[in-house]
């Protein structure tokens, strides 16, 4: 059993529980539950920051384009973006597919949850500022240009499933060597490892907190690997990260969600 923080829908606070990450069993006050059957909400509440092009393969995919307009040169510092509060949804919640969009890009990523205020921290100390880890789906409308902030492609309602829990930091021996897999309708569509990060987690935290504070509860997404798979309406998306957890959501037409809400 590993210690985790979970949050139930409709509750303001996270609560502590135990999990077995191998079979997705949650232990709460001495009772065992299948994670699928619990009404889980996103277990985080701070600001969510993503990092662009932090996988070696993702940068390589751009090829010589990094030296041509409009980019002209490869990034010199972490390129960050924000997934605002309206994007965050929990385990099992539907991912809305906007009208006139054929499919969504699935951005499987490790979420690093900050445990205490991190300002100008060193690489050596960086992991001591981490509370734990979670699985995040940094959903986007596919876009080819990376020149302008992709707010309308990345900030839509429901575009950031998080969960099922935040697992305690010490349960993860090396966050820079975790396998990340994406299954769509049960079929393996992407596989990578955080060993391929350009900036490993401690370095990322050190470089980011050199110019901006990460507050307790903020979540840092370490990056999305190259060849992100696409999911269309009705597709079931399952993201697995070794020793962290499995995040599952289904893509649903936005207009059907609103119809249900009426």
């Amino acid at each position: 059993m590993r210690k985790v923080k979970i949050k139930f829908r409709g509750m303001l606070q996270v609560i502590e529980a135990g999990v077995n990450t191998a079979n997705h069993i949650v232990e709460l006050q001495g009772k065992r539950y299948d994670a699928d059957k619990l009404p889980l909400d996103a277990p985080v509440s701070g600001t969510i920051y993503g990092v662009l092009l932090n996988y070696k393969g993702a940068l390589a995919t751009l090829g010589n384009a990094v030296n041509e307009p409009p980019y002209k040169v490869a990034p010199k510092a972490p390129v960050l973006y924000i997934k605002p509060a309206n994007t965050v949804i929990g385990y099992g919640m539907p991912i809305p597919l906007p009208d006139h969009v054929p499919a969504l890009e699935i951005g499987a990523t490790l979420g690093v949850v900050i445990g205490r205020k991190a300002t100008r921290v060193s690489e050596e100390q960086a992991l001591t500022y981490v509370d734990g880890y979670t699985v995040v789906n940094d959903v986007s409308i596919p876009h080819t240009s990376l020149y302008r902030p992709a707010v309308s492609q990345k900030s839509r309602d429901g575009f950031c499933p998080v969960g099922p829990w935040v697992i305690e930091r010490d349960a993860v021996v090396n966050p820079d060597a975790l396998r990340v897999r994406v299954y769509i309708n049960g079929e393996l569509r992407q596989e990578n490892t955080t060993a391929n990060l350009i900036r490993p987690i401690p370095r990322l935290i050190a470089e980011i907190t050199d110019f901006m504070t990460l507050n307790i509860g903020d979540t840092l997404l370490v990056g999305v690997p190259e060849d992100a798979p696409l999911a269309k309406a009705g597709d079931h998306v399952r993201i697995e990260i070794d020793n962290i957890g499995i995040l599952e959501n289904t893509v649903v037409h936005e207009r059907e969600l609103y119809k249900e809400a009426k």
Partner: protein, 254 residues
């Protein structure tokens, strides 16, 4: 009504403006220099506009955008009235940006421009500093330029929407060490407040307390350590800020 959030004698208060002074929520009246000013709204989702004044776009040799150029800011970057903003020692060009900030009053989704003002709680002044040395052409302007700690002073007042007859006709001015360096008018925005609310709410939900920084007109100059920068908007407020160097952040007693 003009509202503020301040710290006074160890407690955080809501306050309102009264004859140039502050009336705290417990009834005490204090002078504006006796308090520590906090951002008048606790920022959550904050949008900022790039190149939203045609003259500013021209000043930077850019074509005026055909779709709003929007980026997001995190809560770390905001400081209140009379705060200090850090200029890193390696920066060669750091400039202020005087901007009208629009604070949302309720949840907004698929709002039409003709109804947009119904969703506005009020207005304040922001100074959206930019350190141009750190610009890179990925998701430009990147957070290293736009989301640095202390680099977005905001305040002093949140002015009720009903007190501003026409937010699209307000003069903006910036003074550096008392000298006027920037002057413009909100009527020259490329994308007006109602258009911005319509645009943003067309693809995502805006919530109460969300803030839109609407961009800045021309007249930007490099600011140095020690400069006092005042960004001022007619009927909204006068936001004072001081640039400090790395040494203010590196002092230790060790």
């Amino acid at each position: 009504m003009k509202r503020a959030r301040i710290a006074y004698l160890g407690a955080i208060h809501e306050a309102v403006e009264m004859d140039g002074r502050l009336k705290l929520d417990d009834g005490r009246i204090v002078e504006e220099h006796q308090v520590v000013w906090l951002p008048p709204v606790q920022p959550r989702t904050v949008f900022a506009l790039g190149l939203n004044y045609a003259d500013h776009a021209k000043e930077l040799s850019f074509k005026a955008p055909t779709e709003p150029l929007v980026f997001l800011k995190g809560p770390n970057t905001f400081v209140g009235h009379r705060a200090h903003t850090r200029r890193p020692s390696d920066a060669t060009y750091m400039h202020y940006e005087c901007e009208l900030a629009v604070v949302m009053g309720r949840t907004a989704r698929h709002v039409k421009r003709e109804d947009a003002y119904d969703y506005v709680l009020g207005y304040t002044v922001a100074n959206d500093y930019t350190i141009r040395d750190y610009l890179e052409n990925y998701y430009r302007p990147n957070l290293r330029v736009k989301n640095r700690d202390t680099c977005t002073p905001i305040g002093p007042w949140l002015v009720d929407a009903k007190d501003i007859a026409d937010p699209m006709n307000l003069t903006l001015r910036t003074y550096v060490n008392g000298k006027l360096t920037q002057e413009g008018n909100t009527r020259d925005m490329i994308f007006s407040i109602p258009v911005l609310i319509e645009y943003l709410s067309s693809f995502m939900t805006l919530n109460a307390g969300d803030i839109i920084l609407t961009g800045t007109p021309e007249g930007l100059i490099d600011t140095k350590v020690g400069d006092e920068v005042v960004t001022e908007i007619e009927s909204i407020g006068r936001l004072v800020n001081t640039i400090v160097g790395d040494e203010s952040f590196n002092e230790t007693n060790m």
